[in-house]
Every structure is written in structure tokens, then in C-alpha cells.
């Protein structure tokens, strides 16, 4: 028994050490955003309420590298997180007064309707079905869908070539917009393989179970840069997915405030990108898109 216990202790310490070692390289986080001092807002608006309370609850993804990813210390980091901090800063709320709520794709409308969060910044593509339930500020970024294959694959050259290779399997994530948009390029629905996470798609691509992975360009670039040359992107971006900031339906004043804040803080916006998603090899710093009209 003595030996077994020693082995267990040893194993546990290895795990602990590894965790500690991995934690160290999460140091390059962004510079703190500017926090407005006691900003004035018209009484009764969402901004006034939030500024008065001095705290805000924001929904984001906890599993999306580059945009919203929970690190080992339990903090979320990424482009979405930094954008949210810029807006909170304009309300006079410091980053430490923000409560981060994990909002996977399926619950984003739900938490806004139920008032559990004040806004959602979570790789949230603006579309008409969603607009019926919530209001979008922004867009603050335009993503585009692309296709990733193994480096030695010359058969798949873009979305159009999927129909010519009816045996080819394409992987994406259950319930994501890319998984819906790829359907029209497929010869049959059996070509689509769905997982919970993109990392599972990448594993399946490397062991030959699927022939292609499709989602937003930035996410794929992350996998390509980590693959030691085993993966490559093919074809052009074939969709435009504007990411918006979700807020309660009909809150036009808050929506306009968010849009103005982003326009006024373009430098902070670019810095937010460069310290997060911009770290991924091959990405280009975006220009802040023109905001849509608030409805």
C-alpha cells in the first residue's frame, strides 16, 4: 500500500505542476482599458442604472480560443472579453466589477430575455431570426467562414468541391451558424459530422475520420498555426458573419451608446484585437465596421 500511495501522490503532483506551468504563459493579457470617472447619463436609461450600480453582468463564451476562453485561473480572456471591457469602462465600471457569465450558443437569447445578463458578447452572429428576440449593437467584427483540410489533400479546393467529392466528410460544431451554412454546399446531409467542440473536429481531421473542417476563418487559423504544417486553409471566405453585441430587445438607447463607445475607442479596439485574436499567426487586424442602425 505504501508504494501505491507514493505513486498516487507523485501522479497528483505532476498534474499540479503541469497545471501551474501552463498557467504561466497567460501573462500577455491586454493593457487595462480606460475606465470613465463618474459618467453622466440620462435618468432611467440602462446606462444610468448600470453606472449607478457600478457593476455589470456580461455573457461570453468560455471555450472559444481568441474570443472568449477561460484560462486555468478561471479568468476569461479574448477579443470579446476586451471589447466588453471597453464598453464597461465607458460606463465607469472597472474590469474587476464585471461578472462574467458563460453563455454557450444555445442560451444566448434566453439569458437576455430573462435579464440574467446585461449584454452578450459571444461570437454572436447577427441574423434576422435572432433579431426577433433581442437587439444587436454593432457589428464590431466581421468573420468569414472557410475550409481547412489536411496539407496533403488536393481534392478539396473550396466549398464548391464538396459536391464533387460526395464521400468527403466535413466537420463542424453542433448548432453553430457555419454548420448550417455549409449544408447548401453538400451533396448529402450525411457528409456533415457534428461535434461539441472544434478541437474534436481537428483531432478527427488529423486521424483521417473527416476530410475537412469548416468554421470562421480566425478559429481555423488557430488550428493551422498549431498543426506543424499538417493542416491548411483552402478556398476563399465564402460567408460574412457580422458579430454583434446582444442586449435586451428594444433598448435603442443602450444600443446607440455601445456603437458610439466603440467608434470613439477605435485605438482600444485595435489594441484589444492585437492582444488576443491577433496573436494567432496569419490573422489581419480588422477595421471597426460601420454600425447597423439600432432597432
Amino acid at each position: 500500500m505504501q508504494f501505491r500511495r507514493t505513486a498516487l501522490v507523485a501522479a497528483l503532483s505532476v498534474v499540479a505542476l503541469t497545471a501551474a506551468a501552463c498557467g504561466d504563459d497567460a501573462e500577455d493579457s491586454a493593457a487595462e482599458p480606460t475606465v470613465a470617472e463618474a459618467p453622466e447619463f440620462e435618468a432611467g436609461t440602462t446606462m444610468a442604472e448600470l453606472a449607478e450600480a457600478g457593476s455589470i453582468t456580461i455573457g461570453t463564451k468560455f471555450d472559444q480560443p481568441g474570443f472568449g476562453l477561460e484560462n486555468l485561473e478561471g479568468e476569461v480572456e479574448g477579443f470579446d472579453v476586451e471589447v466588453a471591457k471597453i464598453i464597461a469602462g465607458a460606463l465607469g465600471i472597472a474590469p474587476e466589477d464585471i461578472t462574467w457569465e458563460q453563455t454557450p450558443s444555445a442560451v444566448r437569447e434566453e439569458v437576455l430575455e430573462g435579464g440574467e445578463v446585461d449584454m452578450v458578447v459571444a461570437t454572436y452572429t447577427i441574423n434576422d431570426a435572432r433579431k426577433e428576440r433581442i437587439t444587436f449593437a454593432g457589428p464590431y467584427y466581421t468573420a468569414g467562414q472557410q475550409i481547412m483540410v489536411a496539407s496533403d489533400n488536393d481534392d478539396i479546393t473550396g466549398p464548391e468541391s464538396l459536391k464533387d467529392n460526395p464521400d468527403a466528410k466535413v466537420c463542424s460544431v453542433t448548432g453553430s451558424t457555419p454548420s448550417e451554412q455549409i449544408r447548401e454546399y453538400l451533396a448529402s446531409p450525411d457528409q456533415l459530422v457534428l461535434f461539441d467542440e472544434y478541437s474534436q473536429c481537428a483531432d478527427s481531421l488529423s486521424n483521417g475520420q473527416v476530410d475537412a473542417v469548416t468554421t470562421d476563418n480566425v478559429i481555423l487559423l488557430g488550428f493551422v498555426s498549431e498543426s506543424d504544417g499538417n493542416f491548411k486553409l483552402v478556398g476563399e471566405q465564402f460567408t460574412e458573419e457580422p458579430y454583434g453585441i446582444g442586449i435586451a430587445k428594444g433598448d435603442v438607447a443602450f444600443c446607440e451608446f455601445i456603437n458610439e463607445t466603440l467608434q470613439e475607442n477605435e485605438d482600444a479596439y485595435i489594441e484589444a484585437w492585437e492582444s488576443t485574436a491577433g496573436q494567432i499567426e496569419g490573422t489581419q487586424t480588422p477595421e471597426l465596421p460601420e454600425p447597423d442602425e439600432c432597432v
Partner: protein, 217 residues
């Protein structure tokens, strides 16, 4: 409830895919489970050891780990099949351990005198098992076996997360996330009802079966 009726075709597709997974996995795990149970009670020590090893492995491993090993482990050693195949395989392996133990409890409930009587009229081990012990054992295992099978039906929802896609559970996920439908009506009105249709009819069939095979002792 519009969310369900507007997308009824999707739910029906998902229902049929789930049903296909369930039916194949049920046949597979019942056959495999009985074979493993035969190993566990056999007089041959290596077979007994193999049966014990099988049950210990699959009964003590979480289903998601078994499925993960099938979907991501087997391709690593060069076995490339469809994710549907891997998903059903994982479900069969996992469920067979529970089927085996239910069947074994039934075999143990048949008194030793029956096996001895079979041997005394000249039947060998497998004949005695097939013609004397198992027919009696299977009657007593209908209720526990039913629970195992119904648990398997619900477990089939996990298979959808391993690349199979298009089953009831992932249909719900697609509708709520990508198309922005409300979560509650989709999962309660569509997905849960679909699984209830399957499990409740299975329960009714089992009750019928139990009455048919019942014997007065």
C-alpha cells in the same frame, strides 16, 4: 409549441435516427451480453477471467469515455469507420456489461439441481445452458434486463455528441443554437417527448413480455 410543429420533419428525422441507433444497439448488446454471461459462468477458467475482465472494464468506465475511445482511439490505430458505427459500437460494449450481469443473476437464480439434472441426462455444458438453464433464467431477468435496455435508450442521447449527428438530441441543439428557437419548447416539447415515446412503448412491451413468459412455480 410552434417551435415543435414548424420543425416536425426535423424531429421525425431525429427520432428515426435515434430509433435506428437504439434498435441496433439493443440487438447487439443483448447478444453480446448473453455471450459474456455464458463466459462468466462457464467451467473454463480463462473464459471466466475474460468475462470478469470485460464486465469490470465496461461497467466501471463512464459511457462518454468508452465513446471517446471508440470515436477517437480506434482511428488512431488505423480503424476508420463511420461515426455512426463507432457510436453504436461504444453503446453496445458499454451496455453488454450490464446485460451480462442481469443475465448472470438470472442464471444464478436457477437452482443447481437443474444444471445437475441436465448433466445427468447426458447434456454437455452448452446444451444444458441452452435448453435447461437459460430458458428459465431469461424469465426471471425480464424486469432487470428491461431497466438496462431503457437506460441504454436514454444513454443513446450521448452518442449524438460523438459525430453521429441528426439524432434527437443534436436536432434539439441545432434548432436552439443555430436557428435561435426557444430552448424550453424544443427540449421539453420535442426532444423529451421523442425519448418518452421510445421508452414508454418499450416499457409497455416489456410488461407484455413479462406476462407472456411468466410461469407459476
Amino acid at each position: 409549441m410552434d417551435a415543435v410543429f414548424d420543425n416536425l420533419d426535423l424531429f421525425v428525422d431525429g427520432f428515426l435516427t435515434s430509433l435506428r441507433i437504439i434498435v441496433i444497439a439493443m440487438i447487439g448488446s443483448l447478444l453480446l451480453g448473453v455471450v459474456i454471461a455464458a463466459c462468466r459462468v462457464s467451467p473454463v477458467p480463462p473464459l471466466r477471467a475474460f468475462g470478469t475482465f470485460w464486465v469490470t472494464t465496461f461497467r466501471n468506465t463512464p459511457l462518454s469515455v468508452v465513446l471517446f475511445a471508440c470515436a477517437f482511439g480506434l482511428p488512431e490505430i488505423g480503424i476508420n469507420r463511420s461515426f455512426f458505427f463507432f457510436g453504436v459500437l461504444g453503446l453496445v460494449l458499454y451496455t453488454s456489461a450490464f446485460v451480462c450481469e442481469a443475465v448472470r443473476s438470472g442464471i444464478n437464480s436457477v437452482s443447481a439441481g437443474q444444471a445437475e439434472a441436465a448433466r445427468s441426462i447426458g447434456l454437455n455444458f452448452s446444451q444444458g445452458l441452452r435448453f435447461v438453464v437459460l430458458p428459465q433464467a431469461l424469465r426471471t431477468v425480464v424486469p432487470p434486463l428491461g431497466s438496462v435496455i431503457i437506460a441504454m435508450m436514454k444513454n443513446s442521447a450521448v452518442v449524438g455528441a460523438f459525430g453521429v449527428g441528426g439524432d434527437l438530441w443534436s436536432t434539439g441543439a441545432t434548432l436552439t443554437s443555430a436557428r435561435g428557437l426557444e430552448t424550453l419548447p424544443v427540449y421539453v416539447g420535442g426532444v423529451a417527448v421523442g425519448y418518452l415515446i421510445i421508452t414508454l412503448s418499450a416499457g409497455a412491451l416489456l410488461q407484455l413480455l413479462e406476462r407472456r413468459v411468466a410461469i407459476a412455480r
